[in-house]
């Protein structure tokens, strides 16, 4: 049997399938379907320094092959997470990643510092949330923004630091290079692409926030392209995501350059998606006599012009 383990920035994952932030809460709900140790890791719902109420409803709209969301980072705050969720999560036998967002660089630094003294395995810097007024994506769409915040957080963070990129940019490789040069250990990508749907009867945007973030299968080709671009540019590992719903998509994302994967929207369509993806991945590796999943990363063979 092929080896599914991956090691990313010194953190050992039993397999490369990680729950994507915001789609899996703090794990309890999907823990009803299978032990959370089934997963390589969990990126927890994005947390902020103070609790946040989130955006008014509706927060969800369906789109062809995908969906929009504008949850707006509803969360109980970092202290509540550390006290009420982290201890339970750490008992589940999987890697725990804290996904953090802030209004100011200081917020990010303060949270990174606080979380450095806890049991979390990794910190994911969410500078790509399109659904909040302040912070979020504003830090993530310019090289200087990304470099500044990454460098600042780096100084306060004792855990491996992952920076999560937004696809709402002209040149994502440049942004990734900025994160790398500022000390990021891992890139995670992609967050959602900003979109809108309108109710043709009420003439109102379906989402109360007017716009929301596009996720799901529709996003896959954009994510694959961007991961491939970034893989060619940076040396640090990439955790790839965006529209993965089948094991074939997972293989594609690995070939494009990802060392591990996150899946999000796929949980909504089928809570058992990670189990099916892992089974398919295992079978694919065994059938093709590939000893370790790590042998797939970046093994796409580009066409020469």
């Amino acid at each position: 049997m092929a080896d599914l383990q991956v090691n990313i920035a010194g953190v050992a994952f039993q397999n490369p399938i990680i729950a994507a932030s915001g789609t899996f809460g703090f794990g309890r709900e999907y823990g009803e379907f299978y032990p959370l140790s089934t997963l390589g890791g969990i990126s927890c719902k994005g947390i902020t320094l103070a609790p946040r109420p989130g955006n008014p409803p509706p927060r969800i709209a369906e789109t062809p092959g995908g969906m929009l969301n504008a949850v707006g980072l509803q969360n109980p705050g970092v202290e509540h997470f550390i006290k009420n969720d982290l201890p339970w999560l750490k008992q589940q036998g999987t890697v725990i990643i804290a996904n953090i967002a802030g209004n100011t660089p200081e917020d990010y630094c303060q949270m990174a510092e606080r979380l450095s003294d806890t049991d979390v395995d990794m910190i994911e810097l969410n500078i790509s949330c399109p659904n909040v007024k302040q912070g979020g994506v504003q830090f993530g769409t310019s090289c200087s923004g990304v470099e500044g915040i990454t460098a600042a957080v780096r100084r306060h963070c004792k855990k491996p630091l992952m920076v999560k990129l937004s696809p709402n940019v002209s040149d994502i490789a440049e942004i990734a290079a900025a994160a790398e040069s500022a000390g990021a250990n891992v890139i995670s990508m992609i967050n959602t692409l900003t979109g809108m749907r309108i109710d043709i009867n009420t003439r109102r945007p379906i989402i109360r926030n007017n716009t929301g973030g596009l996720s799901g299968p529709a996003l896959l080709p954009v994510a694959i392209r961007m991961v491939s671009q970034v893989y060619q540019r940076v040396k640090i590992p990439i955790i790839g995501m965006g529209g993965i719903s089948k094991w074939q998509d997972a293989v594609e994302m690995l070939l494009a350059g990802a060392s591990a994967l996150q899946i999000g929207t796929a949980f909504f369509t089928d809570p058992y998606a990670p189990v099916k993806i892992l089974d398919g991945l295992q079978e694919y590796l065994d059938k093709n006599h590939i000893a370790s999943v790590t042998e797939l990363t970046g093994e796409m063979i580009p066409w020469q012009p």
């Binding site: 789609t23 989130g54 955006n55 008014p56 409803p57 369906e62 789109t63 969906m67 379906i206 809570p271």
Partner: protein, 254 residues
């Protein structure tokens, strides 16, 4: 098991009105675990999001669930096209249903349109102690009257155009009734007015809400609804905290 995904065979299908369908599926453990007022999340091939549909009836002995739903778009149209013998991919039972409390109390159920089906299973438990008030657009859209009556419930119907039963709002029918507890499901204006009446009469009232959903289990925080507790307002979630809420906890917009 709290909830799970299961491929459920359709064993009966009926068309109730021009756009309302009635499906019964074999649901094994899901049926055994289900409570009145809970809902199921139905997979539709090719769609990213499942469709939430309330559980209309539960048969624990036969391990079946019944759904009554209206065609509103592509998802419900696809479900309506499924035939007996085929299977549906169902995630259930989800959410918190109605807390029935003492079923010897006088209960009134108020349902509007496609909000009527979610009341059937709960009303069943009250038998003759339940009066069911249902409101529809017109005679053609009246559904489930006999089903409630089979439970021993007393049923009063209101229609917007007077073509069947009382001519007017279903909530008008509350005026002449005495009751200990209220259960309601239907369009927002109706629910709002039911809540007002309940508050005025000091009667406990439970209402079932709808919101656009993604996960259906409480993980994505997508299905927010404004709630209050201890004077503090916050966003709860229809799929996990509801779909049934105590009327006092709900904050109405506008």
């Amino acid at each position: 098991m709290k909830y799970d995904v299961m491929l459920c065979k359709i064993i009966a299908k009926k068309q109730l009105t021009a756009d309302i369908f009635d499906l019964t599926v074999e649901a094994g453990e899901l049926a055994k675990a289900a409570q009145p007022g809970q809902f199921a999340h139905l997979y539709v091939p090719g769609k990213t999001l499942r469709r939430p549909i309330s559980i209309c009836e539960i048969n624990r002995a036969k391990e079946t669930l019944r759904f009554v739903f209206q065609i509103r778009g592509e998802g419900t149209a696809w479900i309506a096209g499924a035939c007996p013998g085929e299977t549906l991919d169902i995630l259930a039972p989800l959410g918190n249903g109605y807390s029935l409390g003492n079923t010897r109390q006088k209960a009134v159920f108020v349902g509007g349109g496609i909000g009527v089906p979610p009341l059937l299973e709960a009303a069943k438990h009250f038998g003759q102690n339940a009066t069911v008030l249902t409101g529809f657009r017109n005679e053609e859209s009246v559904i489930l009257k006999e089903d409630f009556e089979k439970n021993g419930n007393r049923v009063l119907v209101a229609t917007d155009d007077g073509s069947f039963g009382y001519h007017g709002l279903v909530t008008d029918l509350l005026n002449d009734l005495k009751f200990d507890v209220l259960f309601a499901c239907g369009p927002s204006p109706m629910l709002k007015s039911v809540c007002k009446i309940a508050a005025a009469r000091g009667v406990p009232c439970q209402i079932s809400l709808e919101e656009r959903m993604a996960c259906g289990v409480g993980a994505c925080l997508g299905c927010a609804c404004r709630l209050k507790k201890d004077g503090r307002e916050f966003y709860g979630h229809v799929c996990k905290d509801g779909p049934v809420f105590d009327s006092e906890t709900v904050v109405w917009e506008g």
